[in-house]
């Protein structure tokens, strides 16, 4: 029993389950289209795991994360396509630049709270989006621009099957790092901010420093996913930077369950695949999508994963109470 105790712990057990799903999923992926959807799920999951650190754990809102996603994508695209940088170096440089931008923006706007922070991040996203569509000399404007494929040690990374494993490995890394952070004193400080900012300050936590920290981390997650998305699809358009994409990302986090890293992954998975499945409704597709969203918020307001975990806990108290207790 003791040898398997690590499986019961949500950190290692959940991670093992996730790795298992990623390893076995190709058995069900019978064509390239399915692979493509799975890759998009993974890329969105990376953004959502980062965004969940900010929204779910630290209790801060951002309605502008598509801006960071887009900056990562366009930054990497421009450096590699227009300046001839090696794509991987472009991706790293663009991600670092986005981290710096998030730091500079985060310092003033994270003083704001609640609705005001929502407004400020929304404004930030809109500004980035406008810059991307108007600076057509660099970005190709509304038409978008093509992006060279990623190369690693002279090897061109192309094709859905190769990308599936790259993204799969990065999702596991993203979840592992996020779980480690949340389980650390720094992560506890972040969660404390969401519980009571004053309470956190009076035990010695510098709240603005921590808010900026988690804002930058979540922006870096988004930028990496944005850069990867651009290199994977070979193309990037302003749609990836739009306000609607920001909302989509927040929706995935809330749908899957706030303050649950696996919830963020599940939210990304369901809300990325749902529109593909709802195509049977033809012109009513968006109506059906909206109905699913409303139903979820009414019947499982805490989000999918935390609600299911609570349900399981109620049925099977001893084992699961411990699991939830240390995961949240």
């Amino acid at each position: 029993m003791a040898a398997f105790a690590w499986l019961a712990s949500p950190r290692t057990g959940g991670l093992a389950a996730l790795a298992g799903v990623i390893a076995l999923l190709p058995l069900a992926l019978t064509n390239n289209y399915y692979y493509d959807v799975a890759i998009l799920v993974g890329l969105n999951a990376i953004v959502c795991v980062g965004l969940n650190l900010l929204i779910g754990y630290a209790g801060q809102i951002s309605l502008g994360h598509a801006g960071f996603f887009g900056l990562g994508g366009y930054g990497s695209a421009i450096l590699s396509a227009r300046y001839g940088w090696p794509p991987l170096a472009a991706l790293v440089a663009a991600t670092a630049a986005v981290g710096l931008v998030a730091f500079l923006i985060g310092r003033p706007i994270l003083r704001l709270r609640g609705h005001y922070l929502a407004m400020a991040t929304l404004g930030m996203g809109v500004i980035i989006s406008i810059v991307v569509s108007t600076e057509d000399g660099f970005t190709g404007g509304p038409d978008g621009m093509s992006v060279p494929p990623l190369t690693l040690a002279g090897l061109v990374l192309q094709g859905e099957r190769v990308w599936y494993w790259i993204v799969g490995a990065l999702v596991i890394a993203a979840v592992w790092l996020a779980q480690n952070l949340i389980g650390s004193p720094t992560g506890r400080a972040l969660r404390a901010l969401s519980g009571s900012e004053v309470g956190a300050e009076v035990v010695g936590i510098d709240s603005s420093r921590h808010k900026v920290l988690v804002f930058v981390i979540s922006a870096v997650y988004a930028a990496i996913a944005g850069g990867l998305t651009a290199h994977y699809s070979g193309f990037i358009t302003p749609g990836k930077v739009s306000f609607f994409h920001s909302i989509e990302l927040v929706t995935m986090v809330v749908f899957g369950g706030m303050a649950s890293t696996f919830g963020a992954v599940v939210g990304a998975a369901i809300l990325t695949t749902l529109p593909q499945m709802l195509t049977v409704f033809k012109e009513y597709e968006m109506v059906a999508f909206g109905a699913v969203m409303m139903g979820t918020m009414i019947f499982v307001p805490k989000g999918l994963v935390p609600s299911l975990a609570m349900l399981a806990a109620a049925r099977h108290r001893p084992a699961v109470v411990r699991a939830i207790g240390s995961d949240r």
């Binding site: 790092l177 480690n180 952070l181 389980g183 650390s184 004193p185 720094t186 992560g187 506890r188 400080a189 969660r191 404390a192 969401s194 519980g195 009571s196 004053v198 309470g199 956190a200 300050e201 009076v202 035990v203 010695g204 936590i205 510098d206 709240s207 920290l213 303050a259 109470v321 411990r322 207790g325 949240r328």
Partner: protein
Amino acid sequence: MSLLRVEGLGKEFGGVQAVENLSFSVAPGTVHSIIGPNGAGKTTLLNLLTGIHVPTAGGIYLRERELTGEPPYEYAAAGIARTFQNLQVFFNMSALENVMVGRYRHERCGLVAALLRFSSLARAERACRDAAGELLDFVGLGDYLGVRADAMPYGALKRLEVARALATEPQLLLLDEPAAGLNPTETQEFDALIGKIAGRGITVLLVEHNMRLVMGVSDHILVLDYGRKLAEGTAGEVRANPRVVEAYLGATVH
């Protein structure tokens, strides 16, 4: 030397003088109480003493180190901890985690160590967990270890805030109306807890309405009225002071 010294302290809110030219000092190892009618400026004073409000006049010194104008986390780092009259518990966490957050300034680590979960961190985490568990026992909440704070009764939450404050290993503990909303038995238990805390060598600054609690536990009492010092002294001296009787005890029934 006094532990805490307050010199000519003042706080003005848009023309209203909530605290005015207030000077006092707290000797180490004592239980020091602050009483006064509603609106006397007691809670404002605690907010000033923890950096939540910035004073408009005067200075605050802990062991002669000036803290005036510093942010709240610097007050915590200097050794001042507090509880709140209107609870500031982390309701999204378990009781144990609430107290573990209190250990933040002793456990904090670098970002890389946190992200990669260094083994030194895992050891520190275990030590932190044990220390937090002991503190929960100390305040009488040993049974609530893994219970989420939003499922705990009011009286337990008040103790939880005390445990969290003690976890910072303070020199000075500020208690903001700990007995408010408690029944007589719970109040009596809190009385004993304050005695136990003082027994650990921690100086206590108590803001409280419950006269029985204050008179029983305090070494020194400061009476505030309209943001100013009305009287100061031992329980007996304050009780005998006609100005106190007139302003406070005479005005409110207890």
